[in-house]
């Protein structure tokens, strides 16, 4: 069996095992359905209310993606600035470290009372959670460019632009992809948590209302959706990385 086939088999086994283990837990623990619903009940709820779930999933994804896109744009621009103007890094880095280390659950309510219940607080929370890993990795990657190659570029009188595209950026790509593996999934978590606080839509809102109404079936449904989203994001990044870094496996 090839290693890829083996890897796929692992995922298939996992997906098959989840409902089995789940059902076993329900049967053996004897917990009531309003506390631990079985897979049957949860899948029925997901089926009956699929348009509702789909809508709220879409809202969360939208928030996560917009915030994440801005985080990437910002992080890459700043990373380039840092590499070419190290003094900027000296001034900005302490700010970023502080911002990164303030728990975002503390920032979210402040954003809501300042900006109101628009999408903006959600975008900002996602942004704050995800920009730093991207920034840190891209800076490291740009700096990891081979000094010998940089010397060769200098002797060939390459422009800054050429040095960037031909040497620095290719050196940063593997680091950038590694950042996605962490940060892309993080963007969904951040969006859901942001929705806890103020939103009238999104998976986070669904969780809050389900909790208030003791709807464990919905809670487990959202958990399943979140798991699928997280996993597909991760697999998407892995696939993208394989494509972009095809040369590594050549």
């Amino acid at each position: 069996m090839t290693s890829i086939a083996r890897e796929r088999l692992g995922y298939v086994l996992m997906i098959v095992s989840v409902p089995i283990i789940w059902q076993l837990t329900v049967s053996l623990s004897g917990l009531q359905a309003f506390i631990l619903p079985g897979p049957g009940i949860v899948f029925r709820t997901l089926g009956n209310e699929w348009s509702n779930f789909l809508y709220h999933t879409g809202v969360t994804m939208y928030g996560a993606l917009v915030g994440y896109a801005f985080a990437n744009l910002f992080a890459i621009s700043v990373a380039i600035l840092f590499v070419y103007l190290p003094s900027v890094q000296t001034f900005l880095m302490p700010w970023f470290i502080v911002i990164k280390n303030i728990p975002f659950v503390v920032i979210a309510p402040i954003l809501v009372i300042t900006l109101g219940t628009t999408n903006l607080p959600k975008f900002i929370v996602v942004f704050l959670v995800t920009f730093f890993p991207v920034l840190a990795n891209v800076v490291t990657g740009l700096r990891a460019a081979d000094q010998v190659l940089l010397d060769r570029m200098h002797v060939l009188n390459a422009s800054r632009w050429q040095v960037f595209w031909k040497v620095r950026w290719p050196s940063a790509v593997p680091y950038y992809m590694a950042a996605h593996e962490v940060a892309f999934t993080g963007s969904i978590i951040a969006a859901i948590v942001a929705e806890f606080f103020f939103s009238r839509t999104g998976l986070g809102y669904l969780i809050v209302t389900a909790m208030e109404g003791y709807r464990a079936d919905i809670l487990y449904g959202v958990t399943l959706i979140a798991a699928v989203l997280g996993l597909s994001n991760y697999l998407l990044v892995v696939w993208l990385r394989k494509r972009l870094l095809r040369w590594q496996d050549a």
């Binding site: 081979d146 010998v148 010397d151 200098h154 060939l156 009188n157 290719p170």
Partner: protein, 250 residues
Amino acid sequence: MQPAIQLRDLSKTFGEIEALKEIDLDIHEGEFIALIGPSGCGKTTLLRHVLSLETASSGEILVGGETPERVRREHKLGIVFQHAALVPSRTSLQNVQMTLDITRVKSPLTPGGLLDEFGLGEFRDHYPHQLSGGMQQRVNIAAAMVHNPPFLMMDEPFGALDEMTREFMCEFLGEVLLDNPKTTILVTHSIDEAVMLADRVVILAPRPGRSSAFVDVDFPRPRRREIKTKSAFAEKVLEVRRLLYEVEAL
């Protein structure tokens, strides 16, 4: 005729440390110079001055009658380091092509043709990590020569290769330069290599680096490795070694 490369009273200090002191050296057009000396004698530093990767503290360097900076801007320099300066995500052919993309020089040599000539025709679509050390170094030399620069600077190009590959590469380089004559400076630790390749061996004394002796090597070309079994070769090696020991004892 004016020498192709002139070093006049070249001195370089890094802070307190005198790296090079009052070096005078004339190199003729098409001449092959081997720079040899104990480690820390400033061989690489000297080479980096010619490449305009360092600026002299005092004294003058003229390459083809011009400053190294100008010569660099005119794309007249080729460099080969010990560690191949190749972009890992580009194939052999793309790595060689990159030199032409950057310099935009109209060269009589083509990347494909040069790789064929270097015995790498079948490997043009291979990535650097798929090649052996000797092959990588040949791609590296092709990339350094494809824009047909009149000056070729090499810093221990074969230092990381095993003995057999080194011998092969020495023969190979000798032939390549016979077809494409260039004014060449080779920095090396290997006396064998110096005598095998050079028209003149320059021995540098350490701390501070200064030129202490010259040995002319007038064996006919092309030089095959069988030359190493001749007593004339052995005598030259001995002569260089003796001078080197004297220098180290200073």
